[in-house]
Symmetry: C2
Subunit: 209 residues, 2 copies
């Protein structure tokens, strides 16, 4: 069982009492702001991230040459955390392919069909900057999976998408290359997704307590 | 002071004892997964969100007509939460304009200069889908600020950017319109940002406890 509570709910006498009882089990900070941020950080950073854009078309250019392109479908930017496993990849793959982001043309109903039902394309592009945390105004990327580990992991993610949908409908960029990613965001429709690694978060919380 | 803790840190005998002591102050669930998600949700959903893409160029087309365009700079998709205030707008404006996402051409140093130092453009586009939470595979947008309130709020955000930078460098889309947002993501570089509304979160946590 997990608890999450705010100081404003505690009379101060209770706070001291409870702090003494709880201190071996809690990770806490003197300043509530810091504590909240730590809590928030623990729940946010241990997951695979995706930014999904519904596109009319999209392509990837490297050194002025188009290396990959799709027509209508989804451009999916993928940020891999250093702790990510196959379970994260499974979740992101399943959710992205099944998200109902398209209108059903025959009924006119919005948010009704997924990319597979429309037979549309999926363009996957690795994007380590999704794990950029701002230190002041400068992004810091240290929790992104290091490239030597992320490259094969990302390749297996692309394969996972291709197997779950169909190989020729799923394209990708060039891992680690400087790319120009062209897209026409249709709507626009942009979604943010994180794999829900509660088990990982629990482990982290307990080791830090 | 805020606490966030995981059940795995508690021996079961302590859990019962502590639950009795803490029950008036806690919002809890029988299943740890639900509780963790609730905790996570409370820390995530009460903030302004932005997805920032570093672009070579970007434009917005409505009904086949280009209504706004920039050259190199930032395309910023903005998701407004129903509880957002001027403080959230202040934070997002300041952070976006000061994020060091550009290479300093004279020194070759990466992640060194912000959009203002380069004199580049900023294209703001409202994007309520950033507040889409998946209910199964269907996105639900009920925590996004309703359009009648979001429209003037978003307009004031655009003005805020224009005042903080310079009016002709900051463009926007057409609120509520069906748009095609064209962009060339350069790198790619995509950042996610949320306003850190710890005070709002504390209030919510205490009212839900």
């Amino acid at each position: 069982m997990n608890y999450c509570l705010a100081s404003s709910a505690f009379p101060s006498s209770h706070t001291t009492l409870l702090r003494n009882k709880l201190s071996p089990f809690l990770f806490r900070r003197n300043r509530s702001h810091q504590s909240l941020q730590l809590c928030r950080r623990n729940f946010q950073i241990r997951a695979m991230r995706a930014v999904i854009q519904r596109v009319s078309s999209s392509s990837v250019t490297v050194d002025g040459r188009i290396v990959s392109e799709i027509g209508p479908g989804l451009l999916v930017l993928i940020g891999i955390h250093e702790s990510d496993t196959d379970a994260d990849a499974d979740y992101i793959c399943r959710k992205v392919l099944n998200m109902r982001l398209f209108t059903n043309e025959s009924t006119g109903r919005g948010w009704d069909q997924n990319v597979m039902q429309r037979g549309y394309g999926v363009l996957l592009v690795s994007q380590f900057t999704l794990y950029g945390f701002m230190k002041g105004n400068k992004p810091d990327f240290h929790v992104a999976m290091p490239p030597e580990k992320a490259k094969p992991f990302y390749a297996s993610l692309v394969e996972r998408f291709q197997k779950a949908y169909k190989p020729d409908a799923v394209k990708d960029g060039v891992f680690g290359a400087m790319m120009k990613v062209n897209l026409v965001n249709d709507g626009p429709v942009t979604m943010q997704l994180e794999s829900p690694q509660s088990s990982k978060n629990e482990t982290k919380a307990s080791t830090e307590s």
